[in-house]
Symmetry: C2
Amino acid sequence: MDKFLQAAIEEAKKGLKEGGIPIGSVLVIDGKIVGRGHNRRVQDSSAILHAEMDCLENAGRMAASEYKKAILYSTLSPCSMCSGAALLYKIPKIIIGENRTFKGPEEYVRSCGVEVEILDNQECFDMMQSFIQKNPQLWNEDIGE
Amino acid sequence: MDKFLQAAIEEAKKGLKEGGIPIGSVLVIDGKIVGRGHNRRVQDSSAILHAEMDCLENAGRMAASEYKKAILYSTLSPCSMCSGAALLYKIPKIIIGENRTFKGPEEYVRSCGVEVEILDNQECFDMMQSFIQKNPQLWNEDIGE
């Protein structure tokens, strides 16, 4: 399996262990992970720390020239907020674990020139399905439903 | 002047005093401010705490039914990330101090059914122009340029 998706899955599992929503993300530049993160809605009582946002925050302040070489991995299709963050920083490529559980604005993101790749990974899907079955309300809150 | 825009401007000024980028935001529900925030790139060395994000974070975790009654104010046109956050939570209205300094994806946001109002406030504009003249690199970093 793609080792960076594997790292994103590890982040998701870390979140699950903490009692949180199992979505993980990593930011990769020149073949190296420069940021890791996972959803922190429960852990930090946060309305904005989706996995991708936490990952970008942990990567720290970077120059535009760095973001332009980056690949953003997420175990789940990024929502409008996280997709928007990728667009703000002109991250050219997003690799997604799965988009069957939830599908963000992938067409819009592609129309802005970003490459979006869907891996349709079964582990990512199963992790979310199991979580949502046990925590439907929490999941709905996370996607504004 | 709109008292909520005034509150957003106060947030922007608070940010400026802290050495930060002078952009402020408030979230209003049923005529009351439920969240306030300002850009914290410098203060928290943050890549994600634009004014609107800080405001949404400070508002805390809320139910979808709350966001659906909300108005998001910002002294400056929200970027892709902040617009995306408003879309995630289905905030139906965004009121913007000015969009001459920077224009986010307003057309896309409108096409998603959100009402976007531009107040073209001179104080908001002057505050940003003065800041950018002194800190062009910091400003470029904030908008991924």
